[in-house]
Each structure stands twice: as C-alpha cells, then as structure tokens.
C-alpha cells in the first residue's frame, strides 16, 4: 500500500533494555521520536507542507546548539511570536539538549556533536503563530556533521552529495564566533565561509533562488575579544565583500549574530535566534512541493478506493 499511509514506525531497537527483558511480540511499535531522515521528511511532505531550513556549518560552529536553543525556548513558553504544537523529534531534541543541562554533569554548556555516520538528519517543530491560533506550520531544521561541509569545501565533487541546500527554502551558514574572536583563527574562519559559499555557488548547491543567512554564532565572545573594535571592522568588511561578490548570484543574502547559549549568562538563551526563527517561518522558506513517487497499480477494488481517499487529513 501507499507509503504515505504508514506512520513513521520503526522496529523496537535491539539494543533497547526493554527488548531484552520483555516479550516484544506483545508490544506495538510507536513513533521513534529521534531526528528524522531525509526520506522520512519527504514522506511527511507528501501529506503536509513544511518549511525546510538547512543549517550549514563546519565542526563546532554551533549547528546543534542553535537547534537545541530553539527547543529550550519552547520548553519555557511561547517564543518569537510562536507557540509549540508538537514535534515528531522530541527524543532527538532532548538528546541534543542533554549536555547543556545540569543533569548531564557538565559544568559548561556543551552540545553533543553530530557524527559523520549520522548523515543528513532533520529536527521537526509544529508551531502556531500567536496572532493566528488556527494556523499550524511545520518547520524542519537540517543537521549534518560539520566534517561533511569541510570536505565539500575542499573537494567540490562532494557538493552534489549534499542535497539539503537545494531542498530547503532557506539556508543558514554559520560562522563560528569563537574562531572570529580569536586573532589566530579569525581569518581562516571567515575565508572558510567564503570558500564554502563559492563552492556551493559554482557547483549548483546554491543558485539565484537561494536565500542565504550568514549567521555569526557565539556573539558573546565577540563582545569580549581584546580587539573588539578591530574585529567589528573586519567582520563588516567581510560581509560587504560577500555581498559584493555573491549577492547578485543569490536570491537573498543577509547577516545575523546570535548567542544561542552564552555560558557566562550575559545573553539569554537563544539571543538573536528569535529573529532567525521568524524568517524561517515565512512562507518563502517553503520547499518545492513533494513529488509523490509512482505507485504500483492497485490490484483490487478496495485498494483502488484507498488510493482515491485522502491519506492524511489531520494537522
């Protein structure tokens, strides 16, 4: 039968404690709740529209921290003029938030790194605008190990193996604020972002329809840099040059600064993330409609009837 009719079930994990102790056959599997694969997101899109945003950044640039910060804010209440209506990836979001919580035993907030072997994953949020409670919007944020982007920058043949930019309505490129604040690392960090943009533009990762946000993370560290004034000038020059060299080849290019988790507590959790979330929820972040894969011709009249039914009617 149609794939779209099936929920995203998984088998009970073999390594799960429960499976070892109980008779699994008496149990019915339920949604896994982990980060979703690209295939699962495509199945979701067959039934409902969603905004897809790809989060691109090299190792430790703050990709996962950004996602966990969005989730943390909804745990505390409405955020950025939206309220939380659900998530298919609560377990995944909880895993990602673990190292920033006191229970983790860490003394400074950290975020679990995404592994290269995880491939492309998505985190899901169903959100409702506070000024329009009847409207329900779905947002998927992509997550992939930073090494993948580093490798694609160095070997552009690998850009085509990164489909998320082409699939997303918007892409966020993260510039690691901790490196920008460090005089030794600064130039390299900026040039890596520039080279990444060029690689994606020259190899069909980005095109004239792409909406790109270059987001400097950990802005709390920029404020504290010894040469904060010089740094601000360098950042401004860097952005101007990106704009003059690339903006005409893109649909949109803009810049932002965030402090998703300031360990010193100077900025609230998710500072600047609210503005990003508002742009992600705009209708122009909507991906191209999902393409329903060809289905085998149903053999019985009952199967044909199901094909004629709406498979997903609920929000």
């Amino acid at each position: 039968m149609s794939e779209a009719k099936e929920p995203f079930y998984t088998d009970v994990d073999d390594e799960n404690d429960f499976a070892h102790e109980h008779e699994v056959s008496d149990r019915v599997p339920l949604r896994h709740g982990e980060a979703m694969t690209a295939a699962e997101v495509e199945r979701f899109l067959l039934a409902k529209p969603a905004n897809l945003v790809s989060i691109i950044g090299e190792t430790l640039s703050g990709k996962t921290t950004l996602m966990a910060a969005v989730y943390d804010r909804f745990l505390k209440g409405p955020f950025a003029d939206f309220t939380f209506a659900g998530s298919h990836t609560i377990v995944g979001l909880e895993r990602r938030s673990h190292h920033s919580r006191v229970e983790s035993g860490y003394s400074t907030p950290e975020t679990e790194r995404t592994s290269l072997s995880d491939g492309l994953l998505y985190y899901h949020f169903a959100l409702v605008p506070t000024d329009n409670p009847k409207r329900r919007l779905n947002l998927f944020l992509s997550d992939r190990a930073g090494e993948s982007y580093q490798m694609a920058r160095s070997n552009t043949d690998l850009v085509k193996a990164l489909p998320e930019m082409r699939r997303s309505g918007r892409s966020v490129i993260l510039l690691d604020g901790s490196k920008v604040a460090n005089k030794i690392e600064r130039s390299g960090a900026m040039q890596n972002v520039r080279q990444l943009m060029q690689a994606f533009l020259d190899n069909y990762g980005f095109d004239s329809g792409s909406r790109i946000q270059v987001v400097t993370t950990k802005k709390d560290l920029l404020d504290k840099a010894d040469d904060a004034a010089i740094l601000a000038g360098r950042l401004s020059d860097f952005r101007n040059k990106l704009e003059s060299d690339f903006a005409s080849r893109l649909g949109e290019l803009c810049f932002a600064e965030i402090a998703a988790r300031d360990p010193s507590g100077g900025y609230p959790v998710g500072a600047g993330v609210d503005e990003l979330l508002r742009t992600w929820m705009q209708s122009d972040a909507m991906p191209a409609p999902a393409v329903r894969p060809p289905l085998p011709l149903p053999s019985s009249e009952m199967d044909r009837l199901l094909f004629r039914s709406r498979l997903e009617e609920w929000p």
Binding site: T83, F84, V102, S107
Partner: protein, 275 residues
Amino acid sequence: MTESYIPILGLPMSGKTTFLAALWHLLTAGEIESRLVLDKLVGNHEHLNRIVAAWRRCEEMSRTSIAEETTVRIHAHDRETDKKIVLDFPDLSGESFELQFSSRSCTKDYVADFAKAAGLILFVNADRSTDPLSIIELQELVGPADAPNELARDWSANLVPEQARVVDLLQFLQEPPFERRRRKFVIAISAWDVVQGNRTPEQWLEHEMPLLHQFLKNNQHSFELMAFGISAQGGNAKSERERLLAQVPSERLRCVGRGIDSSDISLPIAWLSGD
C-alpha cells in the same frame, strides 16, 4: 446503562492510586454529597479496598508496580442526570507509562483499551522537583562553575523533563494505531494543597509545564481539555498526618477547576463520562 472506560495516565508518583483510593472512599462512605453516587457493590474490590485502607490511615501510597496493574470497576450513577455509569479504571503503573516513552512501544491491550475509552485523565504532581535546569540558568543563580566535566553522564530517557515526556506520550494518541478522534481530557494536578496563591489549574500548567500547556492549547482538535487541581490526600501524609487524621476523610479532599472548589473529586469523572 453507559459503560465508561477511563484510562488514568501519569508517570510514577503522579498521584493516580491516591486518587483512586480517595474516589473509592468518597463513593462508598457517603460522608458528603458527591456528583457520582455508588449504585451497587458488586465484583472484586480487593485492590480498591487495599489501597483505600492505606489512604484512610493517611499513609503514603506505594508505587503501583507493573505486576500490580489491575482494572477496577465501579457501578455508579450521576446525581444530576440520573445516568447509570459503569466506570472502569485501569490502575496503570507509572512505570508502564514511562516504558512507553523509553521503549517507543505500548501493549496491544493499551491500544484496544483506548478504542473504548470515554475520555482520559492524566495526573501530574504539583509537589514535584523542577524541570532540569540548564547550566546557564544554574550559573545565573550560583555564578560560573570551574569544575571539570568529570561527573558527565550519558543521556537517558529518564532524564527527559516530565512535560516533554507527557507531550510525546499524548502525541502517540494522535496517530495510528490509535483511533484519531477528539477525546475528553482531564489534566489532574495532584497535591494541589502545595500550590501557593490563587492560581487556577490552567495558570499552574501554563507556568509550571509551559511546553505541555502550549501543546494542549494547540491540539484542541485531539483533546477537549479540563484542568483540575486535586488534593486527594488533603495534605502531606508525613508531616501533616495528625491534622489529616482529625478530619472527616471525605472533607479533606479538594477539587479545584473552572469555578469549582469542592471536596467532590468525582466531578472530573462525571465530566469525562458525560455526553
């Protein structure tokens, strides 16, 4: 006669068994006028009588283990509508509810029971530790920590905040294998006696469990919500035992919700089993 099957859900120590014991006392003792009235005493009430004995002695309820899970049946009628009702409450252990989240599976019986459920009642305990603090929130309270990360421990399902677990468990009910329909849904905030000030149960939920509150507000197509504050013991069974023992047992109960402040804890059940 209408038969109402009402699943009672909640994580361990959320107050489910204390509520069942107090409800059984309320209906059988006849000390105060309640909306639901016991019709006849038939069937096996061994489990109810065991838990109510402890409740009457103002003892803390022990956790219901998975092995002790049982369904209790109460024949009652609604004093206002005169409707006869057979109430079936499964005294599900909190562990079995918790296991659903960690194992990402549930029993076939649980799915079948929901198909016949009139509504559901979910317990959360007001006398609870706060949700996990972020390290940043802790640093705002006590200042920066220089300690190494040597106490680091891996993620596990039991570290997930209660409100996130409850949201996920309710999301299960919105998709197959569960029937997709709107369900009457009572959120019962137990140990309501510890709640300070004049907050309503909904205000408590909004402040203490904001993720769950947002979720329920935005999923009214699935859950027709009524929030009640319930004090099924009347106070702390350890520190206030003498005071509690001095009271008429049914009079130490409290049920607070939309314009209600009463000792009648059968009101949420009457609403759930109503048309």
